[in-house]
Amino acid sequence: MPIDKDIVAKVSNLARIKINNDQLSTISNELESVIEWIDTLNEVNTDGVDPIANVSGQKLPLREDKVTDGGYSEKILNNAPEKESGFFVVPKVVE
C-alpha cells in the first residue's frame, strides 16, 4: 500500500499535527515502510479467530451512583494556558 503525501496530509489533519511540507516525503516514505512491514500480518490465517481487545481477564467493574468527586474547579484550571472567570478559553469556535 503506497502512502503518498496526500495520505500523510489527510492523516496528519485527522491527528491535528502540523507537519511542514518539507517533511512530508520523509514521513510518507517511513510510514510506507512501516505499513509494508505490518502487512506481513496478512500471511496469518485468522479465519474464525476472535479479535482480542483486553487481556486482563477481569469483568467490567461497576461503580455505585454516588457523587464522590469534583468540586475543585481551581485544580482543574490550574494548568490551563488560558482561563477566564472559571472557564477554559480558546479561539472563537464558529459553528
Partner: protein
C-alpha cells in the same frame, strides 16, 4: 563495610534496623551519588529536599520500631507517573510545564510504605522508544559507557530508571513497560526489572501510552528487591477498570527457593532469530544449564506466531496511543501554540509539542484506525494477538516458565540506530509477553565480549509472578553478575 550506594534494599533495611546508619545518611549518600552522576542526564526533576524531609519521618518510625516495608529507601520515579505538585512531563515538550494536583496510585503506595522520592527520571517521550533518545530533555547516558569508552544508550523507554539504579544513584526506580520498556533498558544497564501481569499494578495516574499493554513495574539491582518493591506497588485499584481484583501474594517468598526439581523450563525455538549475536545465544544456553543444575527440566516449546508479534504490536500500540494522546491539545494544560483558529491551535501545539517519534506513531495509529483500514490492520492485529496468546497458553500447558534472551544485542551506541524498524527490533523478545499480558522479568546474567551487560528473560503464566521471581532468583544466584555499583 561496603559503601551505602552499593547495597541492596534488603541490606539497607537491615542496616537501618541495626542502626548501622540513619535514614539521613542513606538519603544523603544517594543524593551525592545522583549529583556526582549529573553527566548521565538521568533526572528530569531532582527533589533531594523531598527525600530528606521524608527520611526524617521514616527515621522516627524506625526508632519507634514501627517501620514500614520501604521506610528510608530512596527511589526514583519514571517521569510518566503523575506526582502531586511535582512536574510530570513524560519527557515531552507538550507536558514540560504540567504540574499534577494528584498522585498516581502506584507512587502513592510507595510513599505510604515509607519510600523516599529522589526525583523524576527521564524516559523516551511518552514511553515511545527503545533508546531514551526521544526524550525532549536529551538522552540519558548508559552508566556503562565510561568504562567501555563509548557513548551507550541506556535503552528505553525506562532508560532513566535503569540508569539511576545501575549508577548507584537510587536503590530502586519505578518503570513502565508497554512492549519491553522495563526489560530492555534493565538488560542494557545491567540491572533487574519485572513487568508484572497486565492488571497487577494500577495504571491510574500513569501517563498512558497504550492502555491494553501498559504496566508499571520495579527496577532494582536484585530479584529480591524487585519482589519487595512489587509487593508494595501491586494491588487492585477501583479507579482502574482493568486492574485485577486478585489477592497479592508475597512475592519475596519464592526468591530464596533454590531447588528446581519438578520445574519445567520452556525454551521457545522461535526466539532463535537471524542477526542475534552468538554471545547472546551462548548466554541463553548457559542460562538453561544453570537452571538444569538446580534440577529443572528443560523443554523445547513452540510459539509459532512469534514473528508476527512486533507488527501486531506496531498496529495496536500506535492505534491506542493516537487516541490516548489526543488529550494533549493545548486547551486545558500543557504547551499551547496560540493561533486564531482552534484547529490550527491544535495542529501547531501538537506539531511543536510532540517529538518526531511520537508524531510518527500517532500518524501510524491514526492511519490504521481510519476509515477503510480498520479491519485490514486493527482488527487483523487483534486477531493475531489472540493467536499469540493461544501460543503461550499451549506452552504453559507443558512448562512453568519460559526462558529467552531479553534483547537480541547488548546496548548500542547512541545515535546508531536510524531507521524505525531496526529500532523496533530491539523489542522482538519482549513484545510477545506484553501482547499476552504475561509477567516477564529480565535478570542481568553476563557480559558481552565488549564487557557490556546482557540479560535473560523469564516469562511466566498470567498472574504467576512467583514462578518468574523464583527462576530469576536462581539465575541471579548462578550468574553472580558484576554490578557496576
Amino acid at each position: 563495610m561496603t559503601e551505602i550506594t552499593k547495597k541492596t534494599i534488603l541490606e539497607i533495611k537491615e542496616g537501618l534496623k541495626k542502626r548501622d546508619f540513619s535514614t539521613l545518611e542513606v538519603t544523603n549518600s544517594f543524593i551525592s551519588a545522583s549529583e556526582k552522576n549529573k553527566n548521565l542526564n538521568i533526572y528530569n526533576t531532582f527533589t533531594p529536599e523531598k527525600a530528606l524531609e521524608s527520611s526524617k519521618i521514616s527515621q522516627k518510625r524506625i526508632d519507634r520500631g514501627e517501620e514500614r516495608l520501604l521506610d528510608g529507601i530512596p527511589i526514583a520515579i519514571k517521569d510518566l507517573f503523575c506526582t502531586k505538585d511535582i512536574l510530570t512531563t513524560a519527557s515531552s515538550k507538550i507536558l514540560s510545564n504540567f504540574i499534577p494536583s494528584y498522585e498516581s496510585t502506584v507512587t502513592q503506595k510507595l510513599w505510604d510504605a515509607g519510600a523516599l522520592m529522589l526525583g523524576k527520571v527521564s524516559c523516551d517521550e511518552f514511553a515511545m522508544g527503545s533508546s531514551n533518545e526521544t526524550s525532549c530533555f536529551g538522552n540519558v547516558i548508559n552508566p556503562w559507557s565510561e568504562r567501555n569508552g563509548k557513548n551507550l544508550s541506556p535503552g528505553g523507554s525506562s532508560g532513566g530508571s535503569s540508569s539511576v539504579v545501575s549508577s548507584g544513584s537510587a536503590l530502586a526506580a519505578t518503570g513502565t513497560d508497554t512492549g519491553g520498556s522495563i526489560r530492555q533498558p534493565v538488560a542494557f544497564c545491567g540491572v533487574t526489572g519485572i513487568k508484572p501481569s497486565y492488571g497487577r499494578c494500577s495504571r491510574w495516574g500513569i501517563v498512558a501510552f497504550a492502555s491494553s499493554l501498559d504496566q508499571a513495574g520495579p527496577i532494582t539491582k536484585t530479584v529480591s528487591d524487585s519482589a519487595l518493591m512489587l509487593n508494595v506497588m501491586s494491588g487492585f485499584d477501583d479507579k482502574d477498570s482493568t486492574s485485577a481484583d486478585l489477592d497479592v501474594p508475597d512475592f519475596t517468598q519464592t526468591c530464596n527457593d533454590f531447588k528446581l526439581d519438578k520445574v519445567k523450563i520452556g525454551i521457545p525455538k522461535e526466539y532463535q532469530i537471524d542477526g542475534m549475536s552468538p554471545e547472546i545465544i551462548k548466554l541463553w544456553q548457559q542460562g538453561s544449564e544453570w537452571l538444569k543444575d538446580r534440577g529443572a527440566e528443560i523443554v523445547e516449546v513452540s510459539l509459532p506466531h512469534t514473528k508476527y508479534a512486533l507488527p501486531t504490536y506496531y498496529v495496536i500500540a500506535p492505534a491506542e496511543a493516537s487516541s490516548n494522546l489526543a488529550r494533549y491539545d493545548g486547551v486545558r494544560y500543557g504547551l499551547r501554540n496560540s493561533q486564531d483558529n482552534l484547529d490550527e491551535l491544535y495542529a501547531y501545539s501538537r506539531g511543536e509539542g510532540f517529538g518526531y517519534e511520537v508524531q510518527r506513531r500517532i500518524l501510524i495509529g491514526t492511519y490504521v484506525l481510519s476509515a477503510g483500514y480498520y479491519d485490514a490492520y486493527y482488527r487483523k492485529a487483534q486477531r493475531v494477538r489472540n493467536l499469540i496468546i493461544q501460543d503461550f497458553q499451549k506452552a504453559f500447558d507443558k512448562v512453568d516458565v519460559l526462558l529467552t534472551p531479553t534483547t537480541p544485542t547488548a546496548a548500542f551506541e547512541l545515535g546508531s540506530q536510524l531507521d524505525p524498524i531496526s529500532m523496533y527490533m530491539n523489542d522482538v523478545f519482549t513484545v510477545p509477553a506484553s501482547l499476552a499480558g504475561l509477567p516477564a522479568m529480565s535478570v542481568p546474567s553476563g557480559l558481552s565480549k565488549d564487557g557490556l551487560p546482557l540479560g535473560l528473560q523469564i516469562i511466566g503464566n498470567q498472574f504467576d509472578e512467583n514462578s518468574v521471581l523464583k527462576i530469576a532468583a536462581n539465575l541471579e544466584d548462578q550468574a553472580r553478575f558484576p554490578f557496576l555499583n
